[in-house]
């Protein structure tokens, strides 16, 4: 249709909608064609997306060096495991409960240290993550089952429907991821999201524009921890057993890499980062010990060629649109 030219910003949003629809369709159709193994791989990919998104709030949005995020992931998983096995509370009810538990834990732990800057905060988060893991191993009050962890976690039941198949857990995780992505996009465009980014850019200036820096940093940690707690719940339900080996300092490093490789503060970027981190070791399973060397090389190359991340956050995204407008009215 010669001459018809849709105004650019309308075209962009329509394109985005089409893209989203395509992704949604692929997600719905995927489990019917892929075997259980691939569906499970997609499940753990979903877990790493959630973990990436949860750390992205703290590291990507507010720029706080958090290398102990696995601690919140563990709190969520163990809250679900202990409450379900001891008191029989259905696991889906425990989804919000583990988010609350992780969020509350984050509030209590980070309140006294939220004023720390950069690397000092980093080592304290590492310390906090290790304290959680070691406490789980040492089995205080006989609660956490020590190194064997807690076993016998029920499968999720939705009314009469038992979601214990691979496809069931797949559906559960990707519904939660969908909600999280939707919520994070909205948060980014809200007063809270802007305040977080201001704090990341310059704390002193943020204070001078009326932002309660301490409160917003704490909010970021609480929300990040809550989302990690949700991931912990879904992980515990899938494996039906939780043990300290799954919540090591290395897990926190993986989350850190997901946010950096994907792009700080960029939701699509974090999703791609999670894909790289979780799918890569699976694709190269057969290489056994070499795959970790290749994995390390990939991390370096990513940072070399895409230091801003694979899909960096479009800031001033409307710049291009603005440029177009300024180049003169689109003809037709």
């Amino acid at each position: 249709m010669p001459g018809h030219c849709v105004p650019p910003h309308l075209a962009a949003s329509r394109q985005k909608a089409a893209g989203l629809l395509l992704v949604f369709a692929a997600l719905v159709v995927f489990p019917f064609f892929a075997g259980d193994y691939l569906v499970d791989v997609a499940f753990f990919f979903g877990i790493y997306v959630l973990l990436g998104l949860s750390l992205n709030i703290v590291l990507g949005e507010v720029g706080l060096y958090d290398l102990g995020h696995a601690g919140f992931y563990a709190i969520g998983a163990y809250t679900t495991a202990v409450l379900n096995t001891r008191f029989g509370i259905p696991v889906l009810v425990l989804l919000p409960v583990s988010a609350l538990a992780a969020g509350l834990f984050a509030f209590l732990v980070t309140s006294p240290i939220i004023h720390l800057r950069g690397d000092y905060l980093c080592i304290v988060t590492i310390g906090m993550g290790e304290i959680v893991r070691l406490a789980l191993i040492n089995n205080p009050l006989g609660l956490t089952g020590g190194p064997n962890g807690v076993y016998g976690i029920d499968s999720p039941t939705l009314g009469f429907l038992r979601l214990d198949s691979s496809a069931g857990s797949y559906a559960l995780i990707w519904v939660v991821v969908g909600l999280a992505v939707f919520a994070l996009f909205r948060l980014q465009r809200s007063r809270i999201g802007r305040a977080w980014n201001c704090i990341r850019e310059d704390e002193i200036a943020a204070q001078a524009t009326g932002i309660n820096v301490r409160a917003y940093k704490l909010l970021a940690f609480v929300l990040g921890a809550a989302l990690a707690g949700v991931a912990g719940n879904l992980y515990a339900v899938k494996l039906m057993v939780v043990s300290p080996e799954s919540f090591t300092f290395w897990e926190s490093c993986l989350m850190f890499s997901i946010v950096l490789i994907g792009g700080m503060g960029s939701v699509p970027g974090v999703i791609i980062g999670a894909a790289a981190i979780s799918l890569f070791p699976e694709i190269f399973r057969s290489f056994a010990s070499y795959r970790l060397v290749v994995f390390g090389v990939v991390m370096i190359l990513m940072m070399m060629f895409r230091p801003g991340g694979v899909w960096p956050r479009r800031r001033g995204g409307t710049e291009s649109r603005d440029l177009l407008l300024r180049l003169g009215r689109p003809r037709g």
């Binding site: 064997n148 076993y151 494996l239 039906m240 057993v241 043990s243 070791p281 056994a288 010990s289």
Partner: protein
């Protein structure tokens, strides 16, 4: 013209291939999960080698189900619960795999066994001794290695008596295996402690991966134990004994079944390793059975030396018992029938690690336990 010739050639090829496939029978696939990477990479790689030897020996004797070859399908679980779940889904998902040998490490075995249970596939653990694994009422889970509590009971009955020990120090490494054995030992000694026959004067855990244990050892020395039981792995055990002798701890050292092997002797050095004891199932070298001699000879010929710990041999026995059961039941695809057969019909079947039989919970029956000692030449022999 040229096209038709090419077409004919292609057709011929396809027929040949089909014919070739028809007459040789498809192999019987047995899944193997092992920590090929990660901190237990050494145990995993030995398990792969041992199961390969077991399969070769079966195939040399004509295979099973009338000549079908046994083939091992390996999946690396990296000693991680999550990777183990993925490996189990991958093995469980392949219909033509009859059963799985899975895996090393109690908390790595558990998520995998949950998945095999759902897929109704027999899974036999070779390096998971946590008592609770067979308390979960699972129908498809078995293990060829023994449980922590059997070793703990053996220690409680035999060892303090042998050394006339009254003050016992127990040290573990906070791993699933080490802490399990330590706790079971403490429970097993409870009777004697209550009756005042002996005391547990020290009970604590070191951190695996570390090297310097002077501080906990000095603390232990001050409790003046006359018998010291360490239930962790050989790497730390070697460091512990060396450093203990350095700071003047002279009481006898007894290790759990993962504490003493050739590596232990190499790291600790003969002067220190000499006279260290261990509670353990029969070591490969001491296995009296003819199957053991045949297996060890084949293993040594192919890989240069025999496995340095019991776990890979249990993996080999798992392959043997699966092959035996599949051959007897004649149904390579029916997991439930295989599980039922293993549970009820299998007892006293000759295997590398002695007679193989399973209790109704899936535990290994009748594995004798011995007190081993490192002799003057550094060999690990049964202590009389």
């Amino acid at each position: 013209m040229k096209r038709t010739v090419a077409l004919a050639g292609a057709l011929l090829l396809v027929c040949a291939l089909a014919a070739f496939a028809a007459d040789t029978k498809p192999p019987v696939l047995i899944g193997l999960q092992a920590p090929i990477t990660g901190p237990w990479a050494y145990e995993g790689q030995m398990a792969r080698q041992a199961t390969q030897i077991a399969a070769d020996l079966i195939n040399q004797k004509g295979g099973i189900l009338g000549g079908r070859q046994v083939q091992i399908v390996l999946e690396d679980d990296a000693g991680q619960p999550q990777t183990s779940a993925l490996a189990a889904t991958k093995i469980g998902g392949q219909k033509n795999i009859v059963a799985a040998v899975s895996t090393y490490g109690s908390s790595v075995t558990e998520p995998a066994s949950n998945i095999y249970e759902k897929r109704r596939m027999v899974n036999i653990a070779y390096g998971a001794t946590a008592v609770r694994l067979t308390e979960r009422g699972s129908k498809y889970f078995f293990r060829t290695c023994s449980r922590d509590d059997s070793q703990a009971e053996f220690f409680a009955k035999a060892v303090p008596l042998k050394f006339g020990a009254k003050r016992i120090a127990i040290m573990h490494d906070n791993t699933a295996f080490g802490k399990g054995l330590a706790e079971n030992t403490r429970d097993a000694l409870k009777g004697m402690v209550d009756s005042g026959k002996l005391q547990i004067v020290y009970y604590d855990a070191i951190t695996p991966g570390e090297k310097d244990f002077h501080v906990p050892l000095t603390k232990m020395r001050e409790t003046k134990p006359d018998l010291w039981y360490y239930t962790g792995y050989y790497a730390e055990a070697a460091l512990l004994v060396t450093q203990a002798r350095e700071i003047g701890i002279t009481c006898p050292f007894v290790g759990g079944n993962a504490a003493i092997n050739a590596e232990f002797v190499k790291i600790a050095g003969l002067p220190v390793a000499k006279g260290c004891f261990m509670t353990n199932e029969p070591l490969p070298a001491d296995l009296p059975t003819p199957e053991a001699r045949e297996f060890l000879k084949a293993y040594k010929d192919k890989f240069g030396d025999i496995p340095s710990s019991p776990w890979p041999v249990y993996a080999a026995d798992a392959v043997n018992i699966i092959a035996y059961a599949v051959d007897k039941t004649g149904s390579p695809t029916d997991g439930t029938a295989l599980a039922e057969y293993l549970r009820s019909k299998v007892n006293g079947v000759p295997g590398i690690t002695g007679k193989i039989g399973f209790t109704d919970k899936g535990d290994r029956e009748g594995v004798p336990l011995f007190l081993y000692v490192v002799d003057d030449q550094g060999n690990i022999v049964i202590s009389r």
